[in-house]
């Protein structure tokens, strides 16, 4: 057959021979552990880039409507509970810290430390969702969920909502402005809901990782899974920090 010997053989050693360590977790199509780790890390960063674009669509919508309906957005944001929001921000930042410690434990091959950190992250994540549930149920009680008998009374007549009125002393909004608060709450539920969905997925994966880590996984030098999950977790954290600033703190500068 013509030209079939054109391959120049690579000067590679047979698998497992010499100083080339060939651990069991090295997948067959990679040349080295470093290549494998680099590859999955890079893929994770690209995935986070796609996540940025995904949230980007919502941020664009937010930007436009906030510019158009600024007064309605301010009035809407006054309905959010800044204390709960701040607390949630603290909870998430703590969970990012425990996650980072988890990655460090995996790298330094400390099994019990890793399990502890993952469990703490898991609990903090659940705590975040718990607080979010409290906030959501407040909105449901006040009929501030768009599409489901959305109620304008807190904006047309702020005094009817004494707790919030005490804090902000908002003036009543005319009907055509007050109506646009529904868009604010649409974006609020969309953005925080999409964020919560990412949290739920993350917590699910955390549960799986705790299960695996107790059985001794991730501490044999192959830490890319923990590392990449850490990147994902920090990413969610950063998204929340933007959401917190954009949704809760609109008129506080």
């Amino acid at each position: 057959m013509p030209n079939n010997q054109a391959i120049v053989p690579a000067a590679s050693e047979p698998a497992g021979a010499g100083h080339n360590e060939h651990p069991s977790y090295l997948l067959h199509h990679f040349q080295s552990v470093e290549q494998q780790a680099d590859t999955s890390n890079f893929a994770m960063w690209l995935f986070l880039l796609t996540e940025m674009m995904f949230f980007g669509g919502l941020f664009t919508a937010y930007l436009i409507y906030r510019n158009w309906y600024y007064l309605a957005f301010v009035a809407g944001s006054h309905q959010l509970n800044v204390v709960w929001g701040t607390l949630n921000t603290v909870v998430l930042i703590c969970s990012s810290f425990t996650m980072a410690m988890g990655v460090w434990c995996a790298e330094t091959r400390r099994r019990s430390g890793l399990v502890l950190c993952l469990i703490l992250t898991f609990i903090l994540g659940l705590g975040f969702l718990g607080i979010k549930t409290i906030e959501y149920s407040e909105k449901i009680e006040k009929h501030h969920v768009p599409g489901f008998h959305y109620n304008l009374s807190s904006f047309l007549d702020p005094a009817s909502d004494p707790e919030i009125f005490k804090e902000y002393h908002d003036k009543p909004l005319p009907l055509d402005i007050a109506r646009h608060t529904e868009l604010y709450f649409s974006l609020y539920f969309l953005m925080t809901g999409m964020h919560a969905l990412h949290m739920i997925i993350g917590i699910g994966i955390l549960g799986f990782m705790i299960f695996r880590a107790r059985a001794g996984a991730y501490i044999s030098g192959h830490v890319t899974f923990v590392e990449n999950f850490g990147l994902y977790w920090h990413f969610i954290d950063i998204v929340w920090i933007y959401l917190f600033a954009l949704l809760y703190l609109i008129s506080r500068h």
């Binding site: 030209n3 880039l49 669509g57 436009i64």
Partner: protein
């Protein structure tokens, strides 16, 4: 006819398909459905995209039949709306977007860069499954009544006024979008991290460069269509109001989000084709592609520019004149890298030793049709012209010249060119040439009259039209039936060749790419040993040196 060819096949008496290859490695349906081999996944994509092509093609056939007469005498207006919507959705999201990356990209990228597999084989399989699940949603949507919004889901029509299965269709696109995203990530990572020793960026085949550019679009643009589909679904189910003017929302925002994906997606549907054409043109004129670096960077430039042109779909929709001017300017800028490619391919032909094998015929077809499609694109980018012909058949003809005339021709070129590598067997050459010519004639006959129709003012998406347009419509429909033969014929002889084709050997085309330096069909791990790239891409002198060395080695042992 077959004298003027560069094909060199092994002696058919003694040649055998290698017993060990990726097709024979394991048997049984499960070994295919659970495979992580990029080559097998490519075959899976080939089967599924062909299936969707048949559905989309059938819808197109019905549309063309209906348009034979000026009155609606075969289907009702409702059914007609559903037909062109299904045609658009299936052909764009389930054929044109996945076909080149899914089939040729999956099969060739690891082979071309000298890797054993794509970087993330399991993710690769997952992306095929997501594609299939998305496709199932579309099938469900079609069986239970279809959708009549057109493939663009224009709001508020899609959110407030139609009662068809918009949610099913949007869900399918949402899921299939993740398939594109994962494929894009996989390709970028593979090209960055899995190249063989010596395979520097500027030794990569231009095929790889254009797939790299495609993947950039996948990664950056597809998430935006995902979120817009989510918003459409929520708007329909709950009424979130983002696109609802009665609540202060803006329907135009949806179009911005939609075209932010869908315009770059248009380049997803052409960039891989450009990569295929670079390979084919170079090989059948036995010359390195003229201006390799310029062609490589023009791919990336197209990918980058594609993100700044989306609003040229919205010139008549009330966007500000100043932004229309800017988007018009940016749209024209895309013509520059595209023209660089066309000129460089032409320059590659100059003083090349050209043979007219089937892939080359398709490639010539591509250059001509793409040039017409591209130039009409520049016409449409000018504001005055666009406002005159928007929503007419001029637009339909323009994008079919690029997508069908361009991409499908290119895909056929690629499929024929790499068919011997995929199956180990040649297709029948004279039938192949015949099919390429039929496709070219049929295509032009179908779509050139539509330029004229559109310029005369026939609007798209109606099945009634004034009687004076009938002659051109009949011409277009008869062209479509020739075009159909141009698709059926390759389908038949390619299937025939699976069993009866001549045995191809490793390198029937005398091509230089790494994929040709291994057996056909390749081993599951592609190469017996990871190759070292010690020459430039398209180095035909290197190939000759290699075969001379081989002959010298064989000569003494024969005595």
């Amino acid at each position: 006819m077959s004298t003027n060819t560069i094909v060199s096949l092994p002696d058919q008496e003694t040649a055998r398909i290698p017993k060990k290859n990726f097709l024979t490695k394991e048997n049984g349906l499960l070994s295919w459905l659970l495979t992580r081999d990029h080559k097998r996944i490519a075959i899976l994509y080939l089967i599924t995209t062909t299936f969707f092509f048949i559905i989309g093609g059938a819808a197109a056939a019905l549309i063309r039949l209906e348009l034979l007469t000026p009155t609606g005498d075969m289907v009702s207006s409702d059914t007609y709306n559903k037909l062109f919507s299904i045609h658009g959705i299936i052909m764009v999201f389930f054929f044109l977007v996945p076909i080149a990356p899914g089939v040729l990209g999956n099969f060739l990228i690891p082979l071309m860069i000298g890797a054993k597999d794509v970087a993330l084989p399991r993710i690769n399989l997952l992306s095929w499954y997501l594609f299939v699940i998305g496709g199932c949603f579309e099938l469900y949507m079609m069986i239970f009544g279809g959708v009549d919004t057109g493939w663009t889901f224009t709001t508020p029509l899609s959110t407030h006024y139609v009662n068809s299965h918009v949610i099913g269709a949007a869900m399918g696109i949402f899921i299939a979008g993740f398939s594109s995203i994962l494929t894009g990530i996989n390709f970028i990572v593979t090209i960055h991290k899995m190249r063989a020793p010596g395979m520097t960026w500027f030794r990569l085949p231009l095929f790889i460069w254009s797939y790299y550019a495609t993947s950039i679009i996948f990664v950056l643009a597809t998430p935006v269509i995902a979120i817009s589909m989510v918003l459409i679904m929520l708007e329909r189910v709950i009424g979130i109001g983002l696109f609802d003017p009665t609540k202060g929302g803006d329907p135009l925002l949806f179009q911005h989000l939609f075209w932010f994906y869908s315009h770059p997606a248009v380049y997803v549907m052409i960039l891989p084709g450009m990569g295929i054409i670079s390979e084919v043109i170079s090989n059948f004129s036995r010359k390195r592609v003229f201006g390799y670096t310029a062609v490589a960077f023009s791919s990336v430039a197209i990918a980058v520019f594609s993100f700044f042109v989306w609003a040229h779909h919205m010139f008549i929709m009330g966007i500000s004149t100043y932004s229309a001017l800017l988007f018009s300017l940016f749209s024209m800028l895309v013509a520059i890298p595209s023209a660089i490619k066309v000129f460089n391919w032409s320059a590659t032909l100059y003083k090349g030793s050209i043979t007219f094998d089937t892939p080359m015929l398709y490639a010539f077809g591509f250059i001509g049709l793409f040039t017409i499609g591209g130039c009409t694109g520049v016409m449409l980018a000018t504001l005055g012209m666009d406002i005159h012909v928007t929503e007419t058949y001029f637009i339909v003809a323009h994008f079919h010249y690029v997508m069908v005339g361009g991409m499908v021709s290119a895909f056929m070129a690629g499929l024929h060119f790499w068919w011997p590598k995929m199956t180990g067997r040649m297709y029948p050459e004279s039938l192949g040439r015949l099919a390429a010519v039929i496709l070219f004639i049929g295509f032009n006959l179908t779509f050139f009259p539509q330029f004229i129709l559109g310029y005369l003012g026939m609007p798209r998406r109606y099945h009634f039209y004034p009687p004076e347009f009938q002659a051109l419509n009949v011409l277009s429909t008869s062209g479509a039936s020739i075009l159909a033969i141009g698709y059926l014929l390759p389908a038949l002889y390619l299937i025939w060749s699976l069993r009866h084709g001549a045995i191809a050997g490793n390198n029937p085309w005398q091509a230089t790419g790494l994929e040709w330096q291994t057996q056909s069909p390749p081993l599951t791990e592609n190469f017996t040993e990871i190759p070292i790239m010690d020459h430039e891409a398209y180095d035909y002198a290197w190939l000759e040196r290699q075969s001379r060395d081989n002959r010298r080695e064989e000569a003494p042992s024969a005595e």
